[in-house]
């Protein structure tokens, strides 16, 4: 009986649906705070927005597909796929000239990714820096070691730390973390041009080069600084090892900043956030975004909401809540901590010089990106696979088409 009542309630709830519905997988503390603020901003702007949360991005993705199959897609959704993948599958909304004009305030690489057939179809929420080296400053100071600036120095430091009985590098089990690590090695050792030509354009000569072999070997050398417990923890579990004083370094995106702040650690004193070794000011980034699906009856509300979310103040507030940095070039940075400030400074310099590097996830086809992660995590896990074998598989992976 109770269950029936519940079902009736749910049905009633969906019957008097709001104008717009956002489907997303943002459920952790900071993520939920961002969604709440997003809904409030919509309400202030007179847009009736309902948010539907599903724990975990992949579950949200699965539900999103199911909603399309059942013929009741949401009006907008979080997506981590390149926009063109959605554009091939379903019609997207045209957010109109007003939003298009606002795109002028966005970095070129971001604005390009948000357009489908030249028309704006998605809005960005923030920018996450992926090539960050998080260091436990307390432990480094205790051993008289500085934060390493290059890879050779990183290896020396890590080996010294290992001799001191510490865990030099904390990492979790996901394939994405291995990809981040590999990208950090490639960008730091071989530079941006090599990265673009080898990994994005899949240049067969570069992929087969001795340089690539050396990069893969160096990538696996990093495994000797990690522990076996990595198989059962996520990135936050790895960050926790730094906070517990067990591990010294971690490579992950700037979402880790929130973990340090929650623990009351001060940047520059207790921990540090620098670009990965050899990266200098290079900014390797991805960004959170909402894609709008074509629903002609709701187009007006969609365009209004997109405009609201792109407004400077709202955009900055959402970025601050979620972590990362604001996506607009003209955004103020008050209220962002030192790590975010440094990321923002590098981002703007990189944008001005045209040297920003957008993450592989937004640039490779889905199959190629997934296969790349497969190869790297298999190579990382394997004692047997040689660098040459991994190299062959890497080249095959990047040739995959969707």
């Amino acid at each position: 009986m109770k269950r029936l009542a519940l079902i009736a309630l749910l049905l009633a709830g969906s019957a008097q649906a709001a104008d717009l519905e956002l489907l997303h997988g943002w459920t952790s503390g900071s993520e939920a705070a961002m969604v709440t603020e997003l809904a409030a901003a919509a309400q202030r702007g007179g847009v009736d927005l309902k948010t539907t949360a599903v724990a975990g991005a992949s579950n949200a993705n699965t539900l999103l597909k199911a909603r399309f199959l059942s013929g009741h897609p949401p009006t907008l959704a979080q997506t981590d796929k390149p926009l063109r993948i959605w554009a091939e599958a379903v019609p997207l909304a045209d957010l109109g000239p007003v939003v298009n004009a606002q795109f002028a305030a966005l970095p070129h690489a971001v604005a390009t990714e948000l357009r489908s057939a030249g028309k704006p179809a998605a809005v960005p929420l923030n920018v996450h820096r992926l090539n960050t080296l998080w260091s436990n400053q307390r432990l480094l100071r205790a051993h008289g070691l500085p934060v390493p600036q290059g890879w050779d120095e990183f290896h020396r430091t890590a080996e010294a730390l290992r001799r001191a009985g510490l865990l030099p590098l904390a990492i979790g089990s996901s394939a994405g973390q291995k990809l981040s690590l590999f990208v950090a090695v490639v960008l730091g050792r071989a530079g941006r041009d090599f990265f673009e030509r080898a990994l994005v354009q899949a240049d067969p000569a570069l992929l087969a080069s001795e340089r690539m072999t050396a990069l893969l070997q160096e990538f696996r050398r990093l495994k000797s600084y990690t522990d076996t417990g990595q198989v059962s923890r996520d990135w936050a579990g790895a960050t926790a090892l730094l906070l517990q004083g067990k591990a010294v370094f971690q490579f992950t995106g700037d979402w880790a900043n929130g973990e340090f702040q929650k623990a009351g650690w001060q940047p520059g004193v207790d921990y540090d956030c620098t670009a990965a070794p050899g990266h200098a000011g290079l900014h390797y980034f991805e960004f959170d975004r909402l894609v709008f699906f074509a629903q002609p009856a709701r187009l007006g509300a969609q365009q209004r909401l997109a405009g609201l979310l792109l407004a400077p103040e709202t955009s900055t507030r959402l970025a601050r809540l979620k972590g990362g940095i604001p996506v607009r070039r003209d955004a103020g940075l008050s209220g962002f901590n030192a790590c975010a400030q440094r990321s923002a400074a590098d981002f703007r310099t990189g944008e001005a010089r045209g040297e920003l590097v957008l993450a592989l996830s937004a640039r490779l086809g889905e199959s190629a990106h997934d296969s790349l992660k497969d190869v790297l995590s298999a190579y990382w896990a394997s004692e047997r696979m040689t660098a040459a074998q991994a190299q062959t598989r890497l080249a095959q992976a990047l040739r995959q088409v969707d």
């Binding site: 089990s173 522990d227 417990g229 497969d374 995590s377 896990a381 394997s382």
Partner: protein, 287 residues
């Protein structure tokens, strides 16, 4: 006659549901496996392209190889352990009720719970290994979850722990079904211990063995939840099984057609085990 009609009326909804949700979706999956479906289903026919991709995918080949290794352990060990436990219980032990209760207990848990519990137990840093180390054996290591060659056997450990009690119950029922007078006769003829077991008891357990295999083999092929919670297919893809591959391709990655093709291969594998049995049974029924 009216009783028949009532029975039919009761069965029809069930048959309809079965027809739609089993055969209907089976057919749909079969169709999807012949299309270009990626993120969402599409009706663009591509023939056997997805099957070709599937067979050439090193991940799928590795998953099949893993299934073979997992399946051997998952079938043979529970048979041995289950038979051993059943024979032990059949000695008219005093605490039989209590022991049976204990050994059947894992059956009450879902694979997800079993997998999670074993994930903690087998954690290389904090699990049982750490317990042993803290007892003084400081060099002790048990890191199957982190080893590409051993991760599959970590799955076997958890699965065997889960299912052995059930196999025991099947064998115990079989043992209890053996005619006592036959055993008496054998004993009179001088059969004892091992000989009695091998010549008289085991041959009569054939049907029990058959039932156990019929449960174990398809279960091995369908194993999915255990992989998700215990190893996530890792390290790397070292412990990936076909059902996990199917889920990843169809739902987590946008390769619905490829996922459907792998699902069809799985269905065929299960059918190749179950169908001969069904055919034999229906022949017997006719005769």
């Amino acid at each position: 006659m009216s009783e028949r009609r009532t029975a039919l009326a009761c069965l029809i909804p069930l048959l309809l549901v079965g027809a739609v949700f089993f055969y209907g979706f089976l057919l749909w999956t079969g169709w999807l496996s012949l299309t270009r479906s990626s993120l969402l289903p599409s009706n663009e026919f591509v023939g056997l392209k997805q099957y070709e991709r599937l067979l050439l995918d090193p991940r799928w080949q590795a998953a099949l190889w893993n299934l073979l290794r997992f399946g051997l352990g998952f079938v043979l060990l529970p048979l041995l352990i289950g038979l051993g436990l059943a024979l032990l219980l059949d000695q008219k032990l005093r605490g039989e009720g209590a022991l049976r209760w204990v050994w059947l207990h894992p059956m009450a848990l879902s694979m997800v719970v079993t997998g999670s519990a074993w994930r903690w137990l087998m954690d290389p840093e904090q699990g049982l290994a750490e317990g042993v180390r803290s007892l003084g054996w400081t060099s002790f290591r048990w890191d199957w979850l982190a080893q590409e060659d051993m991760a599959v056997y970590a799955l076997v450990v958890a699965a065997v722990w889960q299912i052995s009690g059930f196999v025991m119950a099947i064998f115990l029922a079989g043992l209890r079904g053996i005619d006592e007078s036959m055993l008496q006769a054998a004993r009179l003829d001088g059969a004892q211990g091992w000989k009695l077991l091998r010549r008289v008891i085991l041959p009569q357990l054939g049907p029990s063995l058959f039932s156990a295999l019929l449960v174990l083999l398809p279960a091995a092929i369908k194993t999915f939840d255990l992989v998700v919670v215990l190893t996530e297919g890792g390290p790397g893809q070292a412990s990936e099984l076909p059902a996990f591959y199917m889920f990843q391709m169809a739902f987590e990655r946008s390769r619905l057609g490829l996922g459907a093709a792998s699902a069809m291969v799985l269905v065929m594998m299960v059918l190749s085990i179950v169908l001969p049995y069904a055919v034999v049974r229906s022949r017997k029924g006719v005769a």
